[in-house]
Amino acid sequence: MHVPDGFIDTPVSVAAGAVAAGAVAASLRGARRELDDRTAPLAGLVAAFVFAVQMLNFPVAAGTSGHLLGGALAAILVGPWTGVLCISVVLLMQAVLFADGGLTALGVNITLMGVVGVTVAYAVFRGLVRLLPRARGSVTAASFLAAFVSVPAAAVAFTGIYALGGTADVSLGKVLTAMVGVHTLIGVGEGVITALTVGAVIAVRPDLVYGARGLTQPLRLSAAAAAAPARPGGNGNPGAPGTTGASGTTGTTGITGAAGTPGTGARSSKETNA
């Protein structure tokens, strides 16, 4: 997906470079709002993560395999500003160090994969999270769709840039069909992998998933919550003071019971709270 040198003519490359520079400057400011003085180490480590995870191969079938592009994943995990920043830094380093993507095409690459990919992914994700019920499953579903849509969206944006300054004489219709077709397939893989990864992070550290902020249950300071089944079904806790009061008494009975006969004491405390 990295555009090489010579694919897009000089004026359009320079213009895309200006767009990319503006976007990176804006996301530098935005990331500082998201992370303040933790920006440099955290964004740097997330960029290193994106760089490493692009080397993780997902076998498809018959010896072929794909890998994650990571734009949607970064946006969902660390937020859109930091996401754009991380992807841009990864692209910059790939161009300068590994000659992956041309130096003059750097602006084009950042605009497509960083700006368009990440922004579309995050917009779709936020929209879906707002629409779907507040549950862990809807975060996974939203991650899938966000990542799935972001890849063909970048392909459409590429076709737009190609229309402005493409050097090859292939008709726009053909470019659009080929790019969107291929990238829809890639998008399915990207969506599945992103959803699996976001699901794995949310299961362990839901607080680290930027896009799922506000979806976690607020912590309840009560012994009842500790003894009750692991996942209470209620949403919100309007009756929190009441439960605390009640659990205070059951908690003490539980402890006294446990002091006498451990096995039955524990069981009885569970029964009283059920």
Binding site: P4, D5, G6, T10, S13, A25, L28, R32, D37, R38, A40, P41, L42, A43, G44, L45, V46, A47, A48, F49, F51, A52, V53, M55, L56, F58, P59, V60, A61, L68, L73, V78, L85, C86, V89, V90, M93, V96, L97, F98, A99, G102, L103, T104, T167, A168, D169, V170, K174, V192, I193, L196, T197, V198, G199, A200, V201, A203, V204, R205
Partner: protein, 253 residues
């Protein structure tokens, strides 16, 4: 650590190209690539001249041709794409070895192959003659925002650490008899990526705390200021200036 703290992309040496200040080199390579991309594709000889210029730089830097050619392999996916172009492009057709090919498609393929290869070769020369740390200092000297330089330097510094962590996870999976063969095994790989993210993020938090405890306030102290003399700039400008001359001749002819 037997090989020292240099990256595998860098090829240690003491040539004049290695010794040049990094920001001069970055500016020179960037200017060169920009000139190459602006060259009209009909000027075949100009691209030969560019290749000769790069070969001259490689010789001055004592980079063996084999090393350079091996690193050029990164370009292979585009070669495949470019070779496809004569078959799908529009316009009048011509017959080459009994196959109908589009004339403008042939031009397009040549254009991308020539310019892409020269761009890759120039970047490879830059990366193999400049240390990573120097490269970042050079970018800073060229007015890249300091925060961006810091992020990039953290990425470079910890990129290998994170990649090694991933390698250890792969070994752990393999030693438990896991082998990823198809889509059914994506769940495990997804969990690997998730765990890798958590470990990276937590490492970032630890790094931040370690920095704060050493007095970090958001800016890095400037330890290695690199500066270039007028002569060094003139040396570095030789490559893009020569390329510009070739390009101008290419346009006028």
């Amino acid at each position: 650590m037997g090989s020292g703290h240099t990256h595998k992309l860098y090829r240690h040496g003491t040539s004049p190209v290695h010794g040049m200040p990094p920001h001069c080199k970055i500016a020179a390579v960037f200017g060169f690539v920009l000139v190459v991309v602006s060259t009209p594709r009909e000027a075949f000889w100009a691209f030969g001249a560019y290749a000769l210029l790069l070969a001259g730089v490689a010789a001055a830097a004592r980079i063996p041709p084999g090393f350079l050619l091996k690193r050029l392999l990164v370009e292979v996916p585009f070669v495949a794409f470019a070779l496809l172009m004569p078959f799908v492009a529009e316009g009048p057709r011509t017959e080459v070895l009994g196959v109908q090919l589009s004339v403008s498609g042939l031009w397009g393929a040549w254009n991308i192959l020539a310019k892409g290869t020269l761009g890759v070769a120039a970047s490879v020369l830059l990366a193999s003659t400049t240390e990573l740390r120097a490269l970042l200092l050079g970018l800073q000297r060229l007015r890249m925002p300091p925060l961006l330089v810091q992020i990039a330097s953290f990425m470079i510094r910890y990129g290998d650490v994170i990649a090694d962590e991933m390698r250890r996870m792969r070994i752990a999976r393999a030693s438990r008899g896991f082998e990823a063969r198809g889509i059914r095994h994506w769940g495990v790989l997804g969990k690997t990526a998730g765990a890798l993210f958590i470990r990276s993020y937590e490492r970032g938090e630890r790094v931040h705390l370690a920095m704060v405890s050493r007095g970090y306030t958001g800016t890095m102290p400037d330890l290695h200021t690199v500066s270039a003399t007028r002569a060094q700039w003139a040396h570095a400008a030789a490559l893009p200036a020569a390329a510009l001359a070739v390009c101008l001749i290419g346009w006028t002819l």
